[in-house]
Symmetry: C2
Subunit: 111 residues, 2 copies
Amino acid sequence: MSGPSRQLLDRLSDKWVNLTLNALADGPRRYTDLAKSVTGVSQKMLTQTLRTLERDGLVSRRVTAAVPVRVDYDLTPLGWTLMPLMYAVKEWAEVHIGEVEAARAAYDAAL
Amino acid sequence: MSGPSRQLLDRLSDKWVNLTLNALADGPRRYTDLAKSVTGVSQKMLTQTLRTLERDGLVSRRVTAAVPVRVDYDLTPLGWTLMPLMYAVKEWAEVHIGEVEAARAAYDAAL
DNA sequence: CAGAATCCTGGCCGATACTG
DNA sequence: CAGTATCGGCCAGGATTCTG
């Protein structure tokens, strides 16, 4: 595998992409809400991740003129086709973390 | 989401994990074969990725005494439960790269 | 063949300050 | 509120060399 789709896979493997997409699974979220629900993300990385996802057509950005301004992010139809896969990976991690930790313990004990 | 399963998700989001797991989808592979089929990976990163996957119980490492030595990597039963998800993500990238590139062109044109 | 060990650097990313 | 801009440290990871 190489070429453009390989670069896209690299992007999907970014640390914050899965978390951001999953945070949008329940519908539109405001910027500050995302910052809170994506644990550990810095302002810079959240903005950078959202910009990239927007440019790639996975996320939409809607600005509501007001004081202060309001910005809502949402998954696009294309983004929705990816979300189940991201969710499945996240779920896999939660379901199998116990087995992984057991494997680590066994591996470390064998040193 | 936070805690141990979050760390595991971070590891699954590593750049080389998806590619390495997918390279093992068709059965056991030798180290050098993996180095060739995982395009762009350095020896250091391949070894590091394989070690981590082995420690996490996703990949097995079998050494055959010979001159020169032979090492085969394979998915464990646990690794096999994750593989379909990694494959689906890789497939998604290949199927939707066109739409993503179109979205990028549209985004850039709107500047 | 399958790594281990070392050195070194680009760029990722957090922290901080500022703004419409 | 939702960002942008800038600076600097730190380390991921490439290149190289060496070995069982």
